[in-house]
């Protein structure tokens, strides 16, 4: 038996600490509970981040090959823990004012992290699916946590039903891949696909379902119907959670299944991904223009960003994967800053989630308007922010792989996309304020938002460090 349980140390620690937090939540006096939960959650995330194995070694396997620790897994795990940590610091005040900062919120968030960590470290279709379900079930519950709100309940219901359907499609596809190759182990599947053993018709059929399931989870067109409603309906901290770490995990998920397991069928899945990328870029960017709600607009913006992510993956090269990895990590950082701004401008009984709430922000607080300007520039991909370099590296990778028309199309679409990001800037700087209440907000969250936003600028000026990290992580994994 080759368990190597030590390799799963971050996951095991996380599980034990979640158990501890559950007990503390039960046996704490109500007035001390929130502080204790916050402290423990922060400590847990720090410990888990620190427990992640050194990324630059050979891939190592645990639990008889079900679980792998390699460069990609290590880097992404740290990134996800960091996303959750930053998100938690942003959202505590907001949640507390709405009575949502409960033990359940913290635990479900950490369970979602556990699921995502299992996902990025999975080396077997069963482990991948297990991680996906741990994450998905926690997130469904998180969306539904605001149960007095009809919109949140509706969003949770839609998310749950469509998510369950997607899991079904994915499992159906996986079962066919298993039927065609006789194994669920990703390496074994890759081998038998590479030698074109097994039933290729069955395999292609399975691949269609797997890609459809993955597309649902990633939220790319035409499987994007849940994204705007869920982003809009869920409480803003939950939306922030949804648009950051799960996207990172979904990236790993896709690279492991398509880039690793089904690499031998790249010709088939590339065409499907082209279809997904084109539709996501077009619909995401064009429909976002019509939105008046910022959360909904950011939902469509996520769809178009996921189109870019898919563009890097469909290049099918190590360079493409590492560009996509860079893209998804920096996107998560940008999304954190944009939702962090919504949280900071919201106050008790008021959500700054409509575009007109941002009107004249420059007159109310030039500093916040400036930060939001950087975030919007980064989302639009305007240099010198990191969004530009992320888009550039993905486009370069796609170009190297020979997808010239696709790159031209993506550039055109991001020009269209720039319109609605710049509209926010126009509203902030050129319109008179509608809402004149003073901007409060927690000092920790405020300064963290500043750091986060300047990180976007810094990474845009000096992208090579993170880019190199992604490149080495991918090179160590494949």
């Amino acid at each position: 038996m080759n368990h190597n349980i030590i390799l799963a140390l971050p996951e095991v620690t996380l599980l034990i600490l979640i158990g501890g937090i559950m007990m503390v939540d039960l046996f704490s006096a109500p007035e001390k509970r929130a502080d204790r939960l916050m402290g423990l959650a922060v400590i847990t995330l720090l410990i888990v981040g620190a427990a992640v194995y050194n990324p630059f070694v050979e891939a190592r396997f645990a639990f008889n090959g079900m679980f792998v620790v390699d460069g990609m897994a290590a880097v992404l795990k740290v990134a996800m823990a960091a996303c959750l940590l930053i998100g938690l610091l942003y959202s505590r005040d907001h949640l507390e004012k709405r009575g949502l900062f409960t033990g359940e919120y913290v635990m479900l968030m950490l369970f979602a992290l556990l699921g995502m960590m299992v996902m990025v470290s999975a080396n077997n279709f069963v482990t991948l699916y297990l991680g996906l379900e741990i994450q998905a079930l926690s997130v469904y519950a998180l969306v539904a946590l605001q149960r007095d709100s009809a919109r949140a309940s509706e969003a949770a219901m839609k998310y749950f039903i469509l998510g369950a359907l997607a899991s079904g499609l994915l499992l159906y596809g996986i079962s066919m891949v298993y039927g065609a190759t006789g194994s669920l182990d990703i390496e074994q599947v890759a081998k038998s696909v590479g030698f074109s053993q097994g039933n290729t018709a069955l395999l292609a059929f399975g691949l269609v379902f797997v890609v459809a399931g993955l597309a649902f989870k990633l939220g790319v067109v035409p499987f994007h119907m849940w994204v705007p409603d869920v982003y809009h309906g869920a409480a803003t901290p939950t939306t922030m959670l949804l648009s950051t770490a799960p996207k990172i995990a979904a990236f790993a998920f896709i690279v492991r299944i398509l880039g690793d397991g089904l690499a031998g069928m790249a010709g088939d899945w590339q065409l499907m991904l082209v279809f997904l990328a084109v539709l996501s870029l077009a619909i995401g960017n064009i429909v976002a223009i019509a939105q008046t709600n910022l959360k909904r607009m950011l939902a469509y913006s996520t769809i178009s960003h996921m189109g870019f992510l898919v563009l890097g993956i469909l290049a099918g090269t190590n360079n493409g994967y590492s560009s996509s990895m860079f893209y998804v990590v920096t996107y998560a950082l940008t999304a954190l800053a944009s939702f962090g701004m919504i949280l900071l401008l919201s106050r008790e009984g008021f959500e700054a989630e409509n575009l007109e709430d941002f009107k004249g922000l420059n007159q109310r607080s030039p500093w916040h308007a400036f930060l939001m300007l950087i975030v919007m520039f980064s989302l639009a991909g305007i240099p010198p922010t990191v969004g530009f370099f992320a888009k550039l590296s993905v486009l370069q990778a796609a170009l190297e792989a020979g997808w010239v028309w696709l790159v031209v199309f993506a550039v055109l679409m991001s020009v269209i996309g720039a319109f609605y990001y710049l509209r926010v800037v126009k509203l902030m700087y050129m319109d008179a304020p509608v809402d004149t209440a003073p901007i409060g907000g927690n000092a920790v969250a405020g300064s963290l938002l500043t750091v986060n936003t300047f990180a976007l600028l810094l990474l845009g000026l000096l992208p090579s460090g993170l880019l190199e990290l992604c490149r080495r992580a991918i090179a160590a994994s494949f």
Partner: protein, 122 residues
Amino acid sequence: MLANYFPVLLFIAIGTAIGVGALIGSRVINTLLGNQRPDPEKLSPYECGFEAFEDARMKFDVRYYLVAILFILFDLEIAFLFPWAVVLQEIGWEGFAAMFVFLGILVIGFVYEWKKGALEWE
């Protein structure tokens, strides 16, 4: 090839014959020997606890689901414990430890639901 399925066909035929026979037989014996005092409750199909014919969109007490979920958890625990107990000799300390980790996780969940009041009916 099809001949292999003959026993199955035979099984279906005999099963149908016995089923239909029992139905008709009990009906006949009933009419001959039983007292017939029908009332609406007796004639309605048996359903445990619910009206047989009504709007399906009725409110369910959420506690039904709670009990169902809790039942499944502990039912599964037993389903794991029985085979584990049978082969405990062969799987040794490793198997023993693995089961206790599993039980430990369940105990945390159990303490949590108890303290949260999920087991209190009213």
